[in-house]
């Protein structure tokens, strides 16, 4: 059974996702010892050529899968960088196509801002479950900063799964699941009425949670999940990377007061993409 990692990367004018995906891929490749493929689009490929990273991309990725850019022009959100923010499109609407796009029998799909710094996810390749999604958000500061909407899709809704990491085996059951995610995306407004969540922005986490809930017979089931997503919020700032240590300033209870901490030998989801890019070269050294 072939296994590998897949990353979706669609650039916007503010964030160079393809460059970020090189880092995510190199770290995953080093620590999980499996090939990594990328799903991208023609305009991102054009940018890649223009910015002279074509050779690196070709060397890094097992397969470069070019697909149509999802039409997410109205899916816009604030990307925070500490106290500052920019408004940019959130192009994430084609993750549900991963089943058709992946070249692997067993696939791990990760976000571009997920830094695989350990082999922890390797333990899950052989787990006897067709579909594994992370069940919880684990905040770097702790419970104090985790709100109800980080654990549930709405105030009255079902529990939230985190599509930051998703592992699946390509078979009939998972085909049904991803088709269902696609359907939820298509009828997002309708599902927002049924599940009572805010549809203003399309989130894979919500679509995946609903599809899983439906597939489980509309009930909560105790089933295998991927490890909790250890995350730093986009208000947090990655200030330095040295001696295999990631130094963060953590926005205390999301306020403007910051507290310092370090992360070592731990997979981490760094939502502040700008701070990843500022520390790109140092982070890249961790992948050597």
């Amino acid at each position: 059974m072939s296994k590998g990692v897949i990353i979706f990367a669609h650039n916007n004018r503010q964030i160079d996702y393809i460059r970020m995906s090189i880092l995510a891929a190199k770290l995953a490749n080093k620590n999980l010892q499996v090939p990594v493929s990328i799903v991208t689009d023609p305009s991102t490929i054009d940018w890649m050529k223009e910015s002279n990273i074509e050779k690196t991309v070709t060397e890094t990725f097992d397969k470069i899968i070019i697909t149509q850019r999802p039409d997410d022009t109205s899916n816009v959100k604030n990307y925070n960088d500490g106290k500052y923010h920019v408004h940019a499109p959130f192009t994430n609407g084609n993750r549900c196509n991963v089943w058709d796009l992946t070249p692997y029998d067993r696939t791990l799909m990760i976000d571009t801002d997920y830094l695989t710094l350990t082999d922890a996810l390797s333990a899950y390749w052989e787990v006897d479950s067709d579909l594994l999604i992370s069940g919880k958000y684990n905040d770097i500061q702790g419970h104090e900063r985790v709100g109800y909407l980080d654990t549930h899709i709405s105030e009255t809704g079902i529990e939230m799964l985190w599509a930051t990491t998703v592992m699946f085996t390509k078979n009939e059951t998972t085909k049904i699941f991803f088709d269902l995610v696609s359907h939820v995306k298509e009828k997002y407004k309708m599902y927002s009425d049924i599940y009572r969540f805010n549809p203003i922005i399309f989130r894979n986490d919500i679509a995946f949670s609903i599809a899983k809930h439906i597939m489980n017979g509309h009930q909560k089931i105790n089933e295998p999940k991927l490890p909790d997503i250890f995350s730093t919020a986009d208000k947090d700032i990655l200030v330095d990377v040295s001696n295999k240590k990631l130094k963060f300033l953590v926005a205390q209870n999301n306020s403007d007061a910051y507290v310092a901490t370090t992360v070592t030998n731990k997979d981490v989801h760094v939502m502040n993409k700008f701070s990843i890019m500022r520390n790109y070269d140092n982070l890249m050294e961790l992948a050597q």
Binding site: V127, P227, A260, T261, K266
Partner: protein, 116 residues
């Protein structure tokens, strides 16, 4: 008074950094104590270690069914081998935990904590 207040706030800042470091360290160890075996996922804890040891003492060493983290039944054909693996992982992870915990405990300022 201002100086005393500054010191208190500095200490509060240190305690917050310490609490986050300790939480992160514990989670790192928890990840190391997660063991994938024969399609199941086991949490290596005292309960698993004791149960495995008890089964071996009762000479139940082959073709034993253990319940994993999700209560799924997992067949362990050679329990002695399984036991060696989980004990090794437990000692390695807890030793690392002790070593790193002592380092953060000794670091008495935010600056020193960040250097650990």
């Amino acid at each position: 008074m201002q100086e005393q207040l500054d010191k208190a706030l500095e200490f509060a800042n240190y305690r917050q950094s310490f609490a986050i470091q300790r939480k992160n360290l514990k989670e790192k160890v928890d990840a190391q104590l997660t063991y994938g075996f024969n399609g199941g996922i086991f949490k290596i804890d005292r309960s698993l270690l004791n149960f495995v040891e008890m089964l071996i003492n009762k000479s139940r060493k082959e073709n034993v069914v253990l319940l994993d983290m999700n209560d799924n039944p997992i067949l362990v054909d050679d329990l002695t081998k399984f036991s060696d693996e989980v004990f090794d992982r437990y000692f390695s992870a807890t030793f690392t935990y002790l070593e790193e915990y002592q380092k953060i405990k000794k670091a008495r300022s935010v600056e020193k904590l960040l250097e650990v």
